[in-house]
Amino acid sequence: MSCIDEDLIQQYIDEEVQAEESERITRHLAVCPGCAKLVAERRQWALSMKRMIREVADEPVVVPPFVAPAKSVPLGSLRKRLVLALSAACLLAFFVLHWNHPSAEKSAIEDELTILQHSDWPVDANQPFSQQGLQINLIDPEGNVTGYVLE
């Protein structure tokens, strides 16, 4: 057979040639000192290249603790729903204000309107906003409390 080209030598020393091809090369190396010498040299050379690259980072590595991320999906959607619910509450309060006090007294009364929020309002992030049972209590200047349930 003819002599082995360089690319094939690379594949041969990396043991990446088909079994049949590998046998053929081995047979050739047994009868061709030139190729045998070349293969031996290339094998040494490849090894030294490998070793040199490995030495770029060969110290013992300290494994840092892995910090698992907090589950973000339910939180994100809960936050979105809260923002939506509170925006709706503000809008509702605005309309209620207009409806109760449509005229000139408005600006004076606005200062004294109090919205009571339930801090323990149970939110189920899996339910649509309309089923959250949000209640808003408005206290007007006379001290009357009116509850509005969002539906």
């Binding site: 690379q10 990446e16 490998k50 040199m52 770029v56 840092p64 892995f66």
Partner: protein, 161 residues
């Protein structure tokens, strides 16, 4: 997740070394490796099966390093030896390391990935998968890359001392 923890403990050092060789900087490497394991964690958390975890880790790390270098535009901080390690090494070894790192930095990111994978004794199949080079061309490209690396190592222009 016990399965994940085992993979993390077992493969972190290997993956970290690959990233250091790719990026030439241990801080940047640590960031990339953290990202890679976070991706693995999220994948496993969703119940997806990673069939060959080490191959997956190599591929993902190399791709992230290649992306990072394309983004950075160049191989950075070549001269910086990892801090705190200098005193444990002979000056000679330190010099070799800097020279090799510099030469690796002269290669294209894909070629560098190939050289790094070769030093880790990965198969041509794994190299092809990670770099996108055709399987049948890996041997030729690898041979060319190693010669290029050797030429860079011999380049007197970059001699340090």
């Amino acid at each position: 997740m016990k399965a994940f923890d085992q993979l993390y403990q077992k493969h972190y050092p290997t993956v970290f070394r690959v990233a250091v060789k790719m990026l030439g900087d241990s801080d940047e490497a640590a960031d990339v490796v953290q990202e890679v394991f976070l991706t693995l964690f999220q994948t496993m958390e969703k119940g997806m099966v990673v069939e060959y975890p080490l191959s997956w880790l190599y591929r993902t790390t190399l791709n992230k390093c290649i992306d990072k270098q394309k983004y950075n535009g160049r191989f950075q901080k070549l001269e910086t030896a990892p801090e705190g390690q200098v005193e444990f090494q002979s000056i000679e070894k330190q010099e070799t390391r800097i020279r090799v790192q510099r030469a690796l930095g002269k290669l294209k990111p894909v070629e560098r990935a190939l050289a790094v994978m070769y030093s880790e004794s990965l198969s041509y199949k794994e190299m092809a998968e990670a770099t996108g080079i055709r399987f049948s061309s890996v041997g030729k490209t690898l041979s060319r890359t190693l010669k290029k690396l050797e030429a860079e190592l011999k380049n007197k222009k970059y001699e340090l001392y």
